[in-house]
């Protein structure tokens, strides 16, 4: 690994940062070059993207979660009370 190239540790940080803001062009090129040569860092990048997608999809996949009955009744009672008061 040449000294002017990024290390894996640096690339993992920059790949994460690239998900949060646009990196300068030279950094982007440096990352590209590294990813072409480094199997582990390109896996890491793919896995961060899966993590991001999974976070956004999780609601769809936890559809069997429901408001517990006891909480539902409690919320309903306080809500109906406020509703009647406001009318």
């Amino acid at each position: 690994m040449h000294h002017w190239m990024y290390s894996c540790k640096e690339v993992t940080q920059m790949v994460s940062e690239s998900l949060d803001h646009k990196l300068p062009l030279l950094q982007r090129i440096g990352i590209r070059v590294h990813l072409l040569m480094c199997k582990f860092c390109s896996r890491y990048r793919k896995q961060l993207l899966i993590l991001r997608e999974a976070m956004r999809l999780q609601e769809k996949y936890i559809e069997d979660t429901t408001l517990p009955t006891e909480a539902r009744e409690r919320i309903k009672r306080s809500f109906i009370y406020s509703l009647n008061k406001s009318q």
Binding site: K9, R43, I50, R56, T65, A71, R72, I75, F79, I80
Partner: protein, 189 residues
Amino acid sequence: MPDPETWVDHYGDYLYRFALSRLRDRVAAEDLVQETFLAALHARENFKGHSSFTTWLAGILKHKIIDHFRKESRVQPVEDVEPFTPTFDDLFDEKGKWKIGPSKWTASPMELYEQKEFWKILALCLSKLSGRLARIFTLRELEELSTKEICKVFDISATNSWVMLYRARMLLRRCLQINWFNVKTYEGE
């Protein structure tokens, strides 16, 4: 707008899931759902029907969640000293090369998402994050707040937010790998 008497029955589950997937705390999720219905009741004249009623309710809940995170982070400031700050030095050698690189995740994303167990493990991994990392990560990835907005909520610098998001992603990636993929990949490889 649907009759308020039916709101809790019709939208309670949806809002609860929305809150729970962000707060990961049943009691707090129930409280914010209750507050959301009351706030919606008082603000119902503001609902113009430009968005669906569900979206409107979720918008109210979203603000409540961000407020909740803001308050929590004041009690436990974002900049406070954590007993354990992950540096990931154990993952890299002195030149910054992976010691043990990420192993291949054998399932495609779609195959992954079909498995109930995967979502359980993701939830488990999220619950292992410290409160501050979990709050920041949730606002970034679920609410899709920009880091600028996140910095405002938690009163931190941009650099600080990137470092914390990096930590959260590193920890989650590793946790998923250990608890889900390693079990599978080691058998196959």
